[in-house]
Symmetry: C2
Amino acid sequence: MSDFLIPAMQRLSPYVPGEQPQGKQYIKLNTNENPYPPSNRVLDALSREFISQLNLYSDPTALSLRHTIADQYGLSPENVFTANGSDEVLGFAFRAFCDASHPVTIPDISYGFYRVYAKLFETEAKQIPLNEDFTLPVDKFLHVNTTVAFANPNAPTGIALPLSDVEKIIASNQDHVVIVDEAYVDFGAESVLSLLPKHPNLLVVRTYSKAYSLAGARLGYAFGSPELISDLDRIRNSFHPYNINRLTMLAGIEAMLDRDYFDECIHKVTSERKRAMTVLRSLGFEVTDSQGNFLFAAHPALSGKAYYEGLKDRGILVRYWDEPRLYAHIRITVGTPEQMDALFTATKEIFAEV
Amino acid sequence: MSDFLIPAMQRLSPYVPGEQPQGKQYIKLNTNENPYPPSNRVLDALSREFISQLNLYSDPTALSLRHTIADQYGLSPENVFTANGSDEVLGFAFRAFCDASHPVTIPDISYGFYRVYAKLFETEAKQIPLNEDFTLPVDKFLHVNTTVAFANPNAPTGIALPLSDVEKIIASNQDHVVIVDEAYVDFGAESVLSLLPKHPNLLVVRTYSKAYSLAGARLGYAFGSPELISDLDRIRNSFHPYNINRLTMLAGIEAMLDRDYFDECIHKVTSERKRAMTVLRSLGFEVTDSQGNFLFAAHPALSGKAYYEGLKDRGILVRYWDEPRLYAHIRITVGTPEQMDALFTATKEIFAEV
């Protein structure tokens, strides 16, 4: 930290991304990446000829991309916002709707970044504890009289709220924006998107990082009323109008159009999730009914950190937490069947030693 | 605008990017893109195999890229920051060093985004008018007791300050960060980089968009003391740790390593700049001694807007302004010799009609 940093920024608590090992080859089940490559349509489109046009700026309105996404969901491009990853969408939303006089209400256990954005924009984050069983206490999110943000399905628990509960939260907070982060929705949870026409305060945030196998391309999007989308555009055009590069923009179009490949990847990941859940439970783990591309598990005999370390020694990375409520838990990304078999083998070895 | 937007964000004046025509094919001399494609090393590296790994996140520390840039300039990776375009670098710097109690001093005519960032972070921007001849009034930037930001060479004038003047500004403001935006420095101006070890308050901002023909890849970087760089990283990790996608990261490494191609492009652009300057002056234009990849010109017989419209009718895009001090002026990106010949022909036609 320098002597020049302003006091508010000295108080930040920056996010710590999941381990991205540079040297040794690990089986990476720690950052919820899709284990399958992007669609062949993406690989075909990003040709040498297309790449040779990188001397030209990308379209700052991302119109073709927004059209493609809108068409897929029966909406208009005016309902669609795109950005450099869903983190950027969320960052812009916090800037648009939150500041020192406009707090935000979030779950205590959720995507860790909500708290970080709040500090970046000097906003109070009112944290509501999840229930003992890690479900969201819906009643406590009603009439909170602030902006609201939560993930559905939630991270890292994987637990999804039914649509009726999500609607209660939106309807009871109609004077404030309710941000529903659907980063993992493609893996089976019920989306709130159908409620968009009824609720001008609803902002639905999505990502290409998980279901579309494009984590490394950085592409996020959001759905909302034209007015909400224009708010986000106002922030974007005050920060970085050319926020999406040419290659990612085209990759996003092609990936969205390849529905067969999307369905195939979702099927493979959700089948493997089901198998892994059964195996882990048979090994004595408590596992939530995750609707994401990851499992949230705890074993009575071993802390999350100890299990993490045992796996790391065996060449497998998962994620654990130092936070008290998550001390027993671990998050395991659903990989390929071969990767998961390696996880099961390593797990049996570890527990044989406990 | 929605009813939910917070008051401070209602007061924004978002940047208006240069025209990016989607339909008709224009000769684009309006957004200071490099007319030549990126290095063959970039095209070779972004192979189908590499693209097929987009399911994996990029390295959030961008270590290889920062190493490559640092090596080129004899610095350490701790002196190098990278981001999604130099606009993102600048945005993070404004967030780190400016707020309602920490104003910034900027020239009245410069990169238009400095004012926009100031509003985004609720910062007073103290604007110091350029001299009549569009040079920077160095004395008025001494001991200003605020953060300082300016472009060198300046945009859209192309006029560069000598190193001794830049150092005066840095040395006289040592309790505040001085941001020197060297987006166009590769085209001939003297860089302030050699002064980095002497001045912990110096932040030098650069881009791959101009000299490296990678505007469409979105990649910016900055040099500073390890402490200043860690300040920017603190903001980045509170906003978007995975801010650079995998493809752009590798493109940036390969483009930086291909010095021969860099030199060749710089030579072609600066030679053409010289020729265009001579031709335009012979046609009665006043043209500044631009050190950028663009010309800043005015003709006594025609407003900037009228000249712009005449060129647009003839299939050529340039940039004009509605601001009073720039009413007579136009900014013309230096294109290929063929593109510039088309500009000269169109210009002669336009002035034959005046």
